[in-house]
Amino acid sequence: MSSDVRFTDFKSDKQPTWCPGCGDFGTMNGMMKALAETGNDPDNTFVVAGIGCSGKIGTYMHSYALHGVHGRALPVGIGVKLANPNLEVMVAGGDGDGYSIGAGHFVHAVRRNVDMSYVVMDNRIYGLTKGQASPTSRQDFETSTTPEGPQMPPVNPLALALASGATFIAQSFSSDSQRHAQIIQEAIEHNGFGFVNTYSPCVTFNDVDTYDYFRDSIVDLEEEGHDRTDREAAKEKILEGDREYMGVIYRDENSVPWEEREGLDRNMADIPDGAPDDAMDLVREFY
């Protein structure tokens, strides 16, 4: 690992095909800055991406990376990290990937608290399939497949995380590049599962949750004097529901990652070139 890593080292030579103005540009830049800022380099970093516009991120970044099947990015990231705890693992996906098809994995990844970061690029719409409701779409948000709106309340991902025992819950806005990068950096530095829901507006299919909407409504918790270590205060903020917060909402300073509790510190790739020396003992157990 070299000390002179720049964030552009995490950029691949592929030009993104996101729509001009897409929030994902800013989201990705912040991720790259945060990775460089925390002393990582492309050769010790593993990025896992889900399916959807957000999933393309693995192609536009330069690191070890896997772009998997829809909704399963978190289990892949957990597998990578447990097999080699020395790697920096970052999982990125969209609101459909994380809160719809992958919602079950989200709950359990939060519970397991493996030391990795998870950035959800939340645009409250399915963009790649050209504009259908997502789990974070508003109840009355009209789309091609929900003409009257989904008629269900949106998922509150922060509440879902809190209820699952999260040790780090944050929210950021792709357009506020400095704060976004800071927040991602804190998620990386957190000793456990660093979850960041990033508002990453879709300029093509979502005319409700726009840059203007977020700029007007977002409240920075830094300016509110919020105590991030206070779980009760975090709960209140998260359940308020009618406000868009930015910043680290909750951080458990005593978090111990699962792999540490389980005593995993070895790179599992290193194995002998034959059966273990004491392997006949395994056979003798069956006497």
Partner: protein, 592 residues
């Protein structure tokens, strides 16, 4: 035919049937006798009928037969359930003092031994030891020296304290003495002991042990009958080698965790049964197209859907061969015996890493629940070879970079196999994706690149066909006109069936196929035979279909799909009926 004794204990789930049976099986094994066990069980914790059956002989036993000599019946239903296997002279041990057993009528010609199991157990220290009293009684009937039980009781109850162990030993002796004193009937058994040392294990344990021997360090799974024993075996043991078992939230997660660990360079595995394979199918294509080495074990049970969770079937062959959308290159290996469960697991990891493909290890319930004896040398760890394939380290990586210094994880080599750089390797950073990709692992829809990548993945299979030995296992008379082919766990029953068939004047050549894909070419063997019969535990003949497709010739089929494995004598009759054209009225399906 081995001179064998067939013994069983049956009752309700929750009666301690399994642990009692295991104690007896272990005692026999320690006394230098071969053992082959089977279970009748239901998918519930309490209630219902369950039995643990032991076949034992001084010679090797490879199968179960349709005969029961000594039965410990804890319930009346146990006798009814085993009526077909009981015969004149069978001994039935039961507790005639129990209110539910007072009206038991022992069928004519059989010997009923009413032993007050519960009362004697109380004399020894507690009613809970009633099953052990029954074991003592069975030892007397079989003329099996009761001292042999002691070590098993030590092993089973040792951690509960000396007093408990001693009470159990006493309970066994009370059972033995009761039979010796109350019944002066001469039984025909005299279980010989030998100096041989055997180990006793089941197919799931053998798979788990094979994984450890092969350097597997990461196992993620979700509990499911009958694959859970693989996971339970590895839990704790894998930690000694720096590995971990992770219980995932579902099978979707389990296979993706294993995929992640494999991308990180670990030898990784997951095991499940049919319903879990359904879920994992989603990820088969990703494993194959990202060229990730992964061992996926399917311990088959009766399907479809929830089917019969505790019953035998070989119904997932098509799933293993063809599951997943698109064209998914994969290898399919099916161990044919408990010891082969070990060796084929070792091989599976090598194929996975050498060819960077998913490898399906297809076992079944019959192998999973069978405990079988082996000399320890059957698992000679010095024979275990680990081949990791084209792993590239920092010193070699320059040779695999393109002119822009980018690592090429899907480089189209002549043999189809690309270099692998584990994360953390300097200058090796690369991505891969389930989208069609170029040599750099980046999305493409360019026609030429698509063809190049599909061809390279196909080429890996061709290379493997040439490089590896995909041979079959052969038994019986190599020159016989009748050829029987089977796959998976039927091997044991068929090997013994050969003896029955020979006695009845039928010479048979038997080919047991452990490699389903790639698989041996059986054209010559089939051409040389007058009758070709494919034996398998499913209704439609999935392997027979594959064989017919390979050789463009119809074969005859013997199928069984009642949820119970083939028994050697039963299978011999099925083969004989097929040869003589007799419709046995059973489950035989004959093409045309």
């Amino acid at each position: 035919m081995p001179e064998d004794l067939n013994w069983a204990i049956g009752g309700e789930a929750g009666d301690g049937i399994d642990s009692t049976g295991k104690i007896f099986a272990q005692a026999l094994s320690r006394a230098g006798r071969h053992v082959f066990t089977s279970k009748d069980f239901a998918s519930r914790i309490r209630g219902g009928y369950t039995a643990y059956k032991v076949r034992t002989s001084v010679d090797r036993v490879e199968s179960v037969v349709d005969r029961l000599d000594i039965l410990i019946a804890l319930t009346e239903r146990t006798i009814d359930e085993n009526m077909d296997e009981l015969h004149k002279g069978s001994v039935i041990i039961y507790d005639g003092e129990r209110s539910t057993m007072q009206d038991v009528e022992v069928p004519e010609g059989m010997v009923g031994l009413s032993v007050p199991l519960q009362r004697l157990a109380e004399d020894a220290g507690g009613a809970i030891m009633a099953n052990v009293v029954a074991l003592g009684a069975a030892c007397e009937v079989a003329q099996f020296p009761i001292e042999n039980l002691d070590e098993s009781l030590d092993k089973r109850f040792g951690d509960k304290g000396e007093a408990i162990v001693e009470n159990n030993k006493e309970a066994a002796r009370l059972g033995q003495q009761y039979v010796a004193e109350e019944y002066d009937h001469e039984f025909d058994y005299d279980l010989e002991t030998t100096d041989a040392d055997y180990v006793l294990l089941n197919g799931d344990e053998a798979i788990g042990m094979g994984a450890l021997a092969a350097g597997c360090r990461f196992y993620s799974g979700y509990p499911i009958t009958p694959a859970t024993d693989v996971m339970e075996y590895l839990t704790g043991r894998i930690d000694q080698y720096g590995g971990k078992v992770v219980q995932a939230e579902d099978e979707l997660s389990a296979i993706n965790m294993a995929l992640g660990a494999a991308r990180a360079g670990a030898r990784a595995m997951t095991a499940t049964s049919g319903p879990g394979i359904d879920l994992m199918t989603e990820t088969f294509g990703l494993v194959a197209t990202t060229e990730t080495p992964l061992v996926i074990c399917d311990v088959m049970r009766s399907g479809p859907s929830t089917g019969m969770p505790t019953k035998q079937e070989q119904g997932d062959l098509n799933m293993a061969l063809y599951g997943g959308h698109g064209e998914v290159p994969r290898f399919v290996v099916a161990p044919t015996s408990v010891s082969e469960c070990f060796w084929k697991t070792v091989e599976a990891f090598n194929y996975a890493e050498k060819y960077q493909t998913p490898v399906f290890l297809v076992s079944d319930l019959a192998l999973a629940v069978t405990e079988q004896t082996f000399p320890p040398e059957a698992f000679d760890m010095d024979e275990v070879e680990i081949e990791r394939g084209k792993v590239v380290d920092e010193a070699e990586i320059d040779g695999w970079l393109n002119d822009k210094d980018q690592f090429q994880p899907h480089f189209p080599s002549a043999d189809g196999i690309s270099p692998r750089a584990f994360p953390g390797t300097t200058d090796g950073a690369h991505m891969t994706t389930g989208l069609e990709h170029d040599e750099l692992g980046r999305r493409t829809e360019e026609e030429e690149v698509r063809i190049e990548q599909v061809d390279k993945r196909t080429q890996k299979v061709r290379t493997a066909r040439e490089e590896e030995d995909w041979d079959y296992r052969e038994f019986g008379d190599p020159g016989a006109d009748t050829l029987v082919i089977s796959w998976g766990s039927n091997e044991g029953a068929m090997r013994e069936a050969l003896g029955f068939l020979e006695d009845r004047g039928h010479d048979v050549r038997f080919i047991s196929v452990p490699y389903i894909f790639p698989r041996p070419d059986l054209s010559d063997e089939i051409a040389a035979a007058d009758d070709v019969i494919v034996v398998e535990c499913n209704a439609t003949g999935q392997f027979a279909d594959v064989i017919e497709h390979d050789v463009l010739k119809r074969v005859q089929r013997v199928n069984k799909y009642d949820g119970v494995r083939f028994k050697a004598d039963e299978l011999a009759s099925e083969i004989e009926n097929t040869l003589t054209g007799v419709d046995s009225g059973s489950q035989e399906v004959t093409a045309e």
